[in-house]
Amino acid sequence: MTHAAELPAWAALSVAVLLLFGAGLALVGAVGLLRFGSFYERVHAPTLATTFGIGCVLVASMLFFSLVQSRFILHEVLIAVLVVITTPVTLMLLTRAALYRDRIEGREAVPPPPRSRR
């Protein structure tokens, strides 16, 4: 971060605000993970960090490095695309695994499987 001091004030300010906001959302997601009661509720909490939270951090990163190196830095777009494609898959796998186990063990109030699979 040796070049950070050369940034104009408006850029430094907006990068800082975006970073803090993104990090704040990730923190709120973590708090949710702690406060929610059941597994199915907890699954919802990290999506804050993986959508708008990471979006803010990536925009901040693009802005900062584009200004410091005075050319467009765009590979953060790739991170965003990959995160958006891969996190739902992980969350769905986790939820389905939990549902499968709860159905087998008969715990919690989970909906029964559809008639065709009973």
Binding site: G32, S38, Y40, L48, T51, H75, T87, P88, L91, P111
Partner: protein
């Protein structure tokens, strides 16, 4: 065309990703990226996935915008729930089973990604025999409302694109 490049869209995406990674559009980068993209699309063809039929791709950008707006809104809603909830409280979360009319596999995959990416809803299960999906909603007020949202806001438009 199909024999030379089995999945042109995937190949284009791979080439774009490669150019973004190396951050250059020099002839060398484009050539190497093109070879990699073609290789990727051949590798995918050898897996023989079901073919996607994109009927009206022009609708996709509008849909993407709506997803973005919806993600922003639910970010706010879920953050408020997390910060304000006193252990349990009046909020009720639960499952909703929704009957879908869409059968296109990629349309269903897109719907699953949209619903799971949006904070507050997670796509849990899909039953292809009955054509029903199971959705978990963090703040479940009215089940009929969710059925309406999923069917009208997302499913109808995805069907226009994929079927």
């Amino acid at each position: 065309m199909r024999r030379v490049l089995p999945h042109p869209l995937i190949a284009l995406f791979l080439l774009g990703a490669w150019l973004l990674l190396v951050e250059s559009v020099s002839p060398g980068a484009v050539l190497l990226g093109g070879v990699l993209a073609a290789g990727g699309s051949w590798a995918l063809a050898s897996l023989a996935p079901p073919r996607a039929r994109l009927r009206r791709l022009a609708l996709a950008p509008g849909l993407l915008c709506d997803v973005l707006v919806e993600v922003l809104r639910s970010n706010y809603a879920v953050a408020r729930i997390i910060l304000s909830s006193t252990k349990g409280g009046a909020r009720r979360s639960g499952f909703v089973r929704i009957r879908l009319d869409m059968r296109a596999p990629y349309g269903l995959a897109a719907l699953a990604c949209i619903l799971t990416t949006t904070p507050g809803t997670v796509w849990v299960d899909y039953d292809s025999a009955e054509g029903t999906m199971l959705l978990h909603v963090l703040d479940l007020v009215d089940e009929a409302e969710w059925v309406r949202i999923v069917k009208e806001r997302w499913e109808r438009r995805l069907m226009e694109i994929f079927e």
